[in-house]
Symmetry: C2
Subunit: 281 residues, 2 copies
């Protein structure tokens, strides 16, 4: 097997991404489709190594990831994808988007495909949209920071802004929630709540307002589970600020909110940068 | 005096930015004005600390920086700006743009101005354009990586892409070159050469092509000085790739190009991220 030492191997790091609130915006083409909303990228993310070979492994286990296969189809190459992440799966951290974007970036570098960053982001975004696995993770993960999705779609279509405020982030996960099942249902109520939250955030783009908008969205969209609601209340009771990750049974808090409330969270930070390739030595 | 320990202080890091080629695009408003072109952001940059007080210092010396004053005017605050950088001044590293953008980001954080990242980038971009000190550094420094300016202007107007290829970068500076004096002269020849270079790069956005397009631009625009031309030739003679920084008497090379040619360059890397605030502990 080839390894990172091979000249035909490259590794990309893609930050995790938690969405606090969103609205869905389907369109005729994948590049125009997407979501509006806001969230947080994390220093906890996914390392994606691409080398000669076939098949995808995630944390040492063989997996089948539809958007990764779609990315490789669009680049017209067949390679081995080896990914590692400390993030929980299916719990609202954008692991699927990270695998797609990391595969696009690393495959382009390893096999000299000659695509630009916007082209690779578009390929990964389209793969996610067509697989039904995500609408806004890829563009957010390509940007980094605390991204606001002002308009939906791939680069050249969607417009992003950001909240200029780095922070420590804590998170706890109580279980999975299927993105596909929520997005394939009636999203009218959710989208109305998301549009209202975005209007409120844009008036004053701060972390505090991101959290209050996200809390209200989770309630109005009817997505709160009892464990998640209890954790958000517990953080609030100790003067902290927490919200639910869309879409997962996950609570995230600013600073030391979850620790202060007696939970044992994973601890990371907002990630200053978007997805990037590792410099080959 | 207040220090970084004050709650009303914040520090931003802004990467240096070398432009390889460009075309100028004046417009009726500063947000629409700018340049097209491509370049490289650097891990060598400017740390900008904003705190209560007045006046600007750079590497310990009091300085007057018109775009910094304009940024503070636009934010309607008066603060002390303390900046440190290892980069040479007036030599094509975007120090002026870095000071403007760093001041905007840090002042917003320290004094709770509630602006979004796009708003702060626009403020710094406008300050540079109105001061005549730069056209494309701020948007490139906000983005990071190896930025391609597809269309001119501030966020919402200009469109950026990037070359997905991190690299070690070496640079040597032989003296200053005034951005104002070049930009205030006849830029027709320069802009024609820049437009041709951009078309060629977009066909295949790789680092190698960025360097060859930049070399050709410097020749066609008539900006090469003898020391710069000699260094580019010397790097070429040992199989490396170097070009001239716009606008400065500076040569930059991929990998170990300048060392291999017998120069004693400063060594850094492409910077994965755009400008960012330091996380306050």
């Amino acid at each position: 097997m080839t390894t990172e030492a091979s000249t035909d191997a490259a590794t990309a790091f893609v930050p995790g991404h938690i969405t606090g609130f969103f609205s869905t915006h389907p369109a005729d083409t994948p590049v125009e489709s997407g979501s509006r909303g806001a969230g947080i990228t994390l220093t906890h993310g996914v390392d994606v190594c691409v080398a000669e070979g076939t098949g995808t492994t995630l944390n040492g286990e063989h997996v089948s990831v539809e958007p990764v296969d779609r990315v490789l189809d669009m680049l017209a190459i067949d390679v081995a994808v080896t990914a590692e992440t400390p993030l929980p799966l299916g719990a609202g951290f954008g692991v699927s988007g990270a695998l797609s974007l990391g595969t696009a970036l690393a495959a382009n570098a390893a096999f000299d495909c000659g695509r630009s960053e916007n082209e690779l982001i578009s390929i990964a975004h389209n793969a996610e949209v067509e697989s039904g696995t995500g609408l806004g993770d890829v563009v957010s993960q390509a940007r980094g920071g605390v991204p606001i999705r002002l308009s939906p779609g791939a680069p050249g279509y969607g417009l992003l802004d950001g909240i200029p405020a780095p922070s420590q982030i804590e998170y706890c996960t109580f279980g999975e929630l299927s993105t596909e099942s929520v997005l394939s249902g009636d999203t009218t109520r959710l989208t109305n709540a998301g549009e209202t939250a975005l209007e409120t955030l844009i008036e004053r783009p701060t972390l505090d307002r991101l959290m209050t908008c996200s809390q209200q969205f989770a309630r109005e969209a009817g997505l709160l589970t009892s464990e998640v609601a209890a954790a958000i209340e517990a953080v609030d009771a100790v003067g902290g600020s927490a919200a639910m990750a869309m879409l997962g049974q996950t609570v995230f808090a600013l600073g030391t909110g979850l620790s202060d409330a007696g939970y044992e969270p994973s601890v990371c930070r907002t990630h200053a940068t978007g997805a990037s390739l590792r410099l080959r030595e």
